[in-house]
């Protein structure tokens, strides 16, 4: 009998549970208040890591989709399903935290700028991928179609970003070369702590969702076996 949560998973989960309060402490207490934007800037310690984790999940989605199509092992489809859902979660976080910050900082909730637009497109396409998966009558068909959409999503988000960037650009460049010195040292360290905590959260969620998807797949296989 295989364990539902392996030792490694339990360890990662434990570290994540410790890391999240540390990140909260860093973002709300340790980091200094930003001079021009004030307290609202603190949301950036969650916004930026969430955005990067959404990209991490997209990379997992792309990889697992390609491997699934070539090997046809449903385990890879379970991974790609997990990556899609976790990516949607982080994408939603980005789309919620972004406007909260943008209203006081830019004076507007939303602007049709490259990163905002590509994030919104990513969100819509992820929802569409989940819909296709759900509407497909059988598991294999849903897995194949979702894998194709997964591959196009990864390519598309990059192209959308480039295109809107040409059209107009306005997003603050945090890590632009030469801009590095402008960020307070404590702010940088807190950002990296939050990045680490979010990364742990991201892989924990993908791992756990992958595990439950594996169990769902096996249960479904057993059910079909019984029916035959």
């Amino acid at each position: 009998m295989q364990r539902v949560v392996s030792r490694l998973d339990a360890l990662v989960l434990f570290v994540t549970i410790v890391a999240i309060p540390v990140a909260l402490w860093g973002a709300f207490l340790h980091a200094p208040t930003e001079q021009t934007m004030g307290a609202v800037q603190r949301i950036f310690y969650f916004h930026v890591p969430s955005a990067i984790m959404a990209y991490v999940a997209v990379v997992v989605l792309l990889g697992s989709s390609i491997v699934y199509l070539s090997r046809r092992d449903l385990a890879w489809d379970d991974l790609s399903k997990a990556a899609t859902e976790v990516c949607l979660l982080f994408c939603t976080l980005v789309l919620i935290t972004g406007p909260i910050w943008a209203k006081p900082a830019w004076g507007t909730w939303w602007t049709w700028e490259a990163r905002l637009t590509s994030t919104l497109v990513l969100e819509i396409l992820l929802i569409a991928a989940l819909m296709v998966r759900r509407y497909a009558g059988n598991r294999d068909l849903g897995a194949r179609l979702a894998a194709i959409i997964g591959i196009t999503i990864a390519a598309d988000v990059y192209v959308v970003h480039k295109a809107v960037d040409w059209w107009r650009g306005m997003h603050p460049e945090v890590f632009k070369a030469g801009n590095r010195g402008s960020l307070d040292e404590r702010m940088t360290s807190v950002l990296f702590i939050c990045m680490g905590a979010m990364f742990l959260l991201c892989i924990t969620l993908i791992r756990l969702r992958y595990r439950t998807a594996r169990i769902e797949t096996r249960t479904e296989a057993l059910r079909l076996e019984r029916l035959d």
Binding site: L69, A128, V132, L145, I148, T152, V160, A163, W166, W167
Partner: protein, 231 residues
């Protein structure tokens, strides 16, 4: 025969619909996502950017590309619906031909359909909005062909996917329209330049992007189309 009253019956039907909706969330989720897609497409077609003034020349490119995007969704969904009803895609899949050829064939048919649509649509838009093209007809045809190719390259792939899961235009627009935002931007920008009297040289990188977009998805679709058709 005793029957329930009008309002009682109406209430029962409404309750049944809402219960179904509550359990599945299908129609609501699909229509909310579609509404966001419409906002997105309209923004890039007519809101903000270089097309801020609402003169005819600034408005026509946006309206034109909105019409092309939405009608291509309808056209592609219809053509796939025909295949679905007769289950003819399965027949094509069993035929001893390259699966890429099936994709290419459907792409050509969709492209011809959109081209015919544009032949009617473009003069109408120019007449209705009283815009002037200043003789740049060949350039306009080139821009339309380039961007429509990209739209069909991706649309044919997504159309086949949507037809396999048995959903119509709403799901196809949810997939195709956000994904083809770059084409919409390229089309609106390049067409706008022509209506303003600027040459194509001023928008060359947009044309390059539209071509790249079309080729990228053409090859992605060639490589993956067989997985869509597979039983």
């Amino acid at each position: 025969m005793k029957t329930v009253g009008f309002w009682r019956a109406a209430w029962l039907v409404a309750r049944k619909d809402l219960q179904l909706e509550w359990r599945t969330f299908d129609a609501l989720a699909a229509s909310v996502v579609f509404a966001v897609v419409v906002l997105l497409v309209f923004q890039f077609a007519v809101g903000g950017g270089p097309a801020r003034q609402l003169s005819a020349d600034a408005l026509v490119p946006g309206v034109l590309w909105l019409a092309i995007s939405f009608s291509s969704v309808v056209g592609i969904a219809r053509s796939m619906d025909v295949e679905r009803r007769g289950d003819t895609l399965a027949g094509l899949f069993r035929a001893p031909i390259d699966r890429g050829a099936i994709y290419a064939g459907k792409l050509i048919a969709n492209a011809v359909r959109i081209a015919l649509l544009e032949v009617i649509l473009v003069p109408l838009a120019i007449v209705f909005f009283n815009a002037s093209l200043g003789g740049a007809w060949l350039e306009l045809i080139f821009v339309l062909a380039l961007c429509s190719f990209g739209l069909c390259a991706l649309g044919t792939l997504f159309g086949a996917i949507v037809s396999r899961v048995g959903r119509g235009e709403a799901l196809l627009s949810t997939l195709l329209l956000p994904a083809s935002t770059p084409l919409l931007l390229a089309g609106v920008t390049a067409t706008g330049a022509l209506f303003r009297g600027d040459g194509l040289a001023s928008v060359s990188r947009w044309l390059g992007m539209a071509a790249g977009f079309g080729l990228l998805y053409f090859f992605v679709a060639l490589a993956t189309f067989e997985y869509v058709l597979e039983e």
